[in-house]
Amino acid sequence: MPPMLDKLRKVAFRLLQAVPTVFGILVVCFLLTRALPGDPAAYFAGPMADAESIEEVRKTLGLDKPLLVQFITYVGDLAQGDLGMAVSTGQPVISELASRLPASLELTLGALVLSFMIAVPLGVLAATRPNTWVDHICRFLVTAGVSLPTFFTGLALMYVFYYLLGWAPAPMGRLDMMYLPPESVTGFLTIDAIIAGEWEILGAALAQLALPLITLALFTLAPIARMTRAAMLQTLGSDFVRTARAAGLSGHRVLITCAFRNALLPVVTTLGMVFSFVLGANVLVEKVFAWPGIGSFAVEALVVSDYAAVQGFVLSMALLFVALNLLIDVIYTLIDPRVGEEV
C-alpha cells in the first residue's frame, strides 16, 4: 500500500473512532441540560405568563413529551442537519454557530499565533541563557500572564488604549459601525476582507481585534513559554545533543535541528490544550469587548436553560476537538523526527 493511502486510512480510522465519543457526548449533554433546575417554559413564557400560557410554551418547545421521545426527535433532526432554534436569541442554532464560531476562532487562533510567536523564542532564549535577564523577563511575563484574570487585563487595556489615549477604536464588536462586513466566505472578517480586497475593512477589523487579541495572548503566553523553556532545557541536557556537540556540529545547528525540533513536540501538545481552554476562557473577553462569539452565546443559553443552543454548542465543541486532536497527531508526524523517518 502506498504510504499516502495508508495515512489516509489511518485518518479515516481515527475519525471513525470519534463517532461513539461524539454520540456519548450527545446523550450526556442531552440529559444534563434536562437536569438543570430552571424551567425554560416558565422563562420563555414571559414576565406576566400564567400557568396556562406556560403550558402552551412548553408544548411549542416540545418539552411536554417524554424524555426518550424528545431525544429521538432531537437525533432525528440532527441527522437532517437541524440543530433546532435557540429561543434565547431567536435564531436557528446552526446559523448562530456559523456566525459566532468563526468570530471566536478568529480571536482564539489569532491570540495563539501571537503568543506562539512571542512565547517560543522567549522560551528558547530563557532556556539557553538560564538565570540571565532574558530568563527573568520570561519569568515575569509568564507570572503576570497567568495571574491576571483576562477580564481584568481586558478592562485595563481598554482603559489605557481606548479611554485614556484614544488609540484603540470603540470596543463595540468585530467591526466599527462605519463599515459593513465583507461578503462572508470563511466568517473570519480579516480573511474575508482580504478575499474581497477591501483593505480598509481589513484595517478596521484588525483594529477591533487588537485589544482582545493582546488580552488573550498575554493569558496564553504563560503555558507555552514555560513549556518551551522546560522542554528546551531537557533536550539541551540530553545525550543526543551532547553527541551532536561532540561530533562537532555548529552550536546553531545543534540548537535548531536537534534540540528545538525535539522540544517542539510537548509544545504542540500544550498548544492543543491551551487552544481548548482558551476557547472556553474567552467568554469574559468576549463580554468585555462586545465580541459576538460562541462563549458568550453558550453562557447566556445555559443561564436561561436554552436546551437546543446548549446542545448545539457542546456538539460543535466536541466535533472541533475531534478535529483538533487529529490535526495535532498529523502535525506530530510532520515534526517528530522518529515518525518522519518511518515514512
Binding site: G38, M48, S88, G90, Q91, M177, L180, K287, P292
Partner: protein, 537 residues
C-alpha cells in the same frame, strides 16, 4: 471602495437612502445630527413581540416600528425631565374614538392618511387581524390583552375600511390604556398573510425577522446578537417626524464597557445604567443622566406566608421594623429613587407607591417577636435573583444585619435568573426574598391585582386575604372617578401595610445616560427606549 465613497456616488445620483441596499454608517465617535447610537446590555431576540420567547429588550421594536390605535401624551416631571402621561390618552393610528354611554363599546376612526411602509393604507381589517393575533397566539401577549378585558376575536369588528369597534364584556378603565401598551400593535395583515402557512397561520416565522408596520422607524438591518439599525419612515402619521434619520442599537454586554463608551462620547446614549453609575456619571462633563422613578414599581422584601413563623402577622411586622432602610437606600440604591419607609401611621392618600409606616425600630421589632413567641428568633434563607445583584446583593446584606438584631439568622441564597421565575414566581416557595414587580398599567388596584391575590404571578409570598381579594375584584374595572374608588384603594393600602407580606424598601428609577447633544428623551412605563422622540440638540 468604502461605504463613504459609495454613498457619495449614490447621493450624487440622488438615490434615496431608503432604496439603497446599504446605507452610510458614520463612525460612532462622530455620531452626528443624523445618526444616534444607543448601547444596551441585553440582546434583541425577535422583531415580533407576539412571538413566544421574545424578551424584554425586543419590545422596543414594537414601540418604534409599529403603531397602536392610541398612545399616551407627555408630562413634565418635577425635575424637568419628560415622562409619558398615563391619564392622557392620545391618538396614534386612530384619529378619534367614541365610547358608548355604558362604557362597553369603543369605536375607533382610523386615520385615512396612515399607510404601511409598503404604501398600502392602514385599514380596520388590519387592526382586526392584528388584535385577533394578540389574543389568539397565547403566552404573554394574550395575558396582557386580557388585562384590558380583551380576550376573544369576537370582541373585534371592522365596521368598514376605517371604522373599528371593540366590544367589552363589561366596562373597564383598563381597556383603553391597555391598547396603548406595546402589545396591541397594528400589523400589515396583507404582507403577513402572504407569508402565513397552515402550520403558522399568524406568520410568526416571517414577522419574527421582517416587521411589517406603519411606525416611525423601519428596521434597516438586524445582526442578531450585535446590532439593530432603525431607519426613519418619513411618511409616518402617528406623531411628529422623529429627529434622527437613523438609530443604531448596539448590544454591549459588559457594563464597564458601556460606561467607557458613553463617558468617552463614542455613543449617544446608554440605556438602563446601574444606580452607582447614574450617580457618578451625572457629575461628569459632557454626559447627562435622566433618572425617572419607575411607576407602580417597588423594590420589596417579601415574607412567604407558607413559612411557619411568617404566618404570624406580628413576625412580618417585626421584620418590617428591623430593616435599616436609610442605609439600604444609600448603599444599594445610591440614593437614586424614592424612599418608601417612614410614612404616616394612617393612610391619607391613594397615590401608589407610597411610604409605608415602618422604619428602623429594633425595640418595637423585638417586642413584636416576643409577643409572637419568637423571642429567640429562627433561621431563614434570604434569596435574591442574581440578575438583580447590583441592588439586591447590598440590600440583602444590610437586611441580614438588621434581622440579626432580632435574632433571625438569615442565610443569603443567590438564584440564577432562569431559575428565579420558576422557584420564586411559579412555585412560590422562597421563604424570604427580594422582588421588584412593576405594573404597566398605572393604577394601584392593578398593582394589587398582580401582587396581593392568591395564585397571581407576583404574589410570590402566598398572601391570601378575602377582604383584599374582594376589594380588588370590585375596584379593578371601576372608573377612577367612581365614588367608591378612592375609599377602596385606601383600604387596600391599609391592608397591605397592616398585613405587610411585601415590605417596601424604595421605588427604583430607570436611569439613562445621554451625550449632552441628545434631547427629547421621555420615560415610558415599558422601560424601553422610545427613539421616536429623541432629537439632536
Amino acid at each position: 471602495m468604502n461605504r463613504r465613497d459609495f454613498l457619495k456616488g449614490a447621493t450624487s445620483l440622488s438615490v434615496g437612502a431608503s432604496v439603497l441596499p446599504l446605507f452610510k454608517i458614520l463612525p460612532a465617535s462622530a455620531a452626528s445630527q443624523e445618526t444616534a447610537v444607543v448601547v444596551i446590555g441585553g440582546t434583541i431576540n425577535s422583531l415580533d413581540i407576539h412571538r413566544s420567547g421574545t424578551n424584554r429588550s425586543s419590545y422596543q421594536v414594537a414601540i418604534n416600528c409599529y403603531d397602536r390605535l392610541v398612545s399616551f401624551g407627555t408630562k413634565k416631571m418635577p425635575d424637568g425631565s419628560l415622562s409619558y402621561d398615563y391619564n392622557n390618552v392620545q391618538p396614534e393610528l386612530a384619529e378619534s374614538w367614541e365610547i358608548s354611554d355604558d362604557g362597553t363599546v369603543m369605536t375607533f376612526n382610523i386615520d385615512k392618511n396612515a399607510t404601511f411602509w409598503d404604501g398600502k393604507p392602514v385599514t380596520a381589517h388590519d387592526v382586526k387581524w392584528s388584535l385577533d393575533r394578540a389574543v389568539s397566539l397565547g403566552g404573554f401577549p394574550t395575558v396582557q390583552m386580557k388585562a384590558g378585558r380583551l380576550s376573544s376575536p369576537e370582541q373585534f369588528e371592522a365596521l368598514d375600511d376605517h371604522t373599528f369597534r371593540i366590544t367589552l364584556p363589561f366596562p373597564s378603565k383598563l381597556a383603553l390604556p391597555d391598547l396603548a401598551t406595546p402589545i396591541p400593535i397594528i400589523i400589515n395583515s396583507q404582507a403577513a398573510k402572504a407569508k402565513a402557512t397552515d402550520d403558522d397561520p399568524w406568520a410568526t416565522e416571517y414577522l419574527h425577522r421582517n416587521p411589517a408596520g406603519s411606525g416611525a422607524y423601519k428596521v434597516a438591518r438586524w445582526d442578531a446578537g450585535q446590532q439593530l439599525v432603525y431607519e426613519r419612515n418619513d411618511n409616518w402619521v402617528g406623531g411628529e417626524i422623529p429627529g434622527y434619520q437613523r438609530v443604531i442599537i448596539r448590544e454591549v454586554p459588559a457594563q464597564s464597557t458601556r460606561r467607557a463608551l458613553i463617558e468617552r462620547g463614542s455613543v449617544s446614549a446608554s440605556h438602563n445604567i446601574p444606580n452607582k453609575d447614574a450617580k457618578e456619571l451625572a457629575a461628569k462633563p459632557g454626559v447627562k443622566v435622566v433618572s425617572t422613578p419607575i411607576e407602580n414599581c417597588i423594590h420589596s422584601l417579601c415574607t412567604n406566608l407558607e413559612f411557619e413563623p411568617f404566618k404570624d402577622k406580628r413576625v412580618r411586622q417585626a421584620v418590617a421594623w428591623s430593616i435599616p432602610y436609610q442605609k439600604i437606600f444609600e448603599q444599594a440604591a445610591y440614593e437614586q429613587g424614592v424612599p418608601m419607609w417612614g410614612g404616616t401611621d394612617t393612610v391619607d392618600k391613594i397615590a401608589w407607591p407610597q411610604k409605608s409606616p415602618y422604619d428602623l425600630n429594633i425595640e418595637k421589632a423585638r417586642a413584636l417577636m416576643a409577643e409572637a413567641g419568637y423571642k429567640d428568633g429562627f433561621e431563614v434563607p434570604l434569596s435574591f435573583n442574581l440578575s438583580h445583584a447590583d441592588w439586591a446583593e447590598p440590600a440583602a446584606l444590610l437586611i441580614q444585619q438588621g434581622l440579626a438584631d432580632i435574632r433571625i439568622k438569615a442565610t443569603i441564597q443567590k438564584i440564577p435568573g432562569a431559575n428565579w421565575r420558576t422557584v420564586a414566581l411559579v412555585e412560590k416557595k422562597l421563604p424570604l426574598h427580594l422582588e421588584n414587580f412593576g405594573g404597566w398599567l398605572n393604577t394601584p388596584d392593578y398593582y394589587f391585582y398582580w401582587a396581593y391575590i392568591k395564585g397571581n404571578l407576583f404574589n410570590s409570598y402566598n398572601y391570601d386575604n378575602p377582604e383584599m381579594a374582594q376589594l380588588i375584584d370590585d375596584t379593578l374595572d371601576m372608573a377612577m372617578d367612581h365614588p367608591d374608588y378612592a375609599a377602596n384603594v385606601k383600604r387596600m393600602i391599609e391592608l397591605a401595610f397592616e398585613d405587610i407580606p411585601r415590605i417596601p424598601l424604595w421605588q427604583p428609577t430607570l436611569n439613562v445616560a445621554f451625550k449632552d447633544s441628545v434631547e427629547g428623551y421621555e420615560y415610558w412605563f415599558h422601560r424601553q427606549m422610545d427613539i421616536r422622540v429623541l432629537e439632536p440638540a
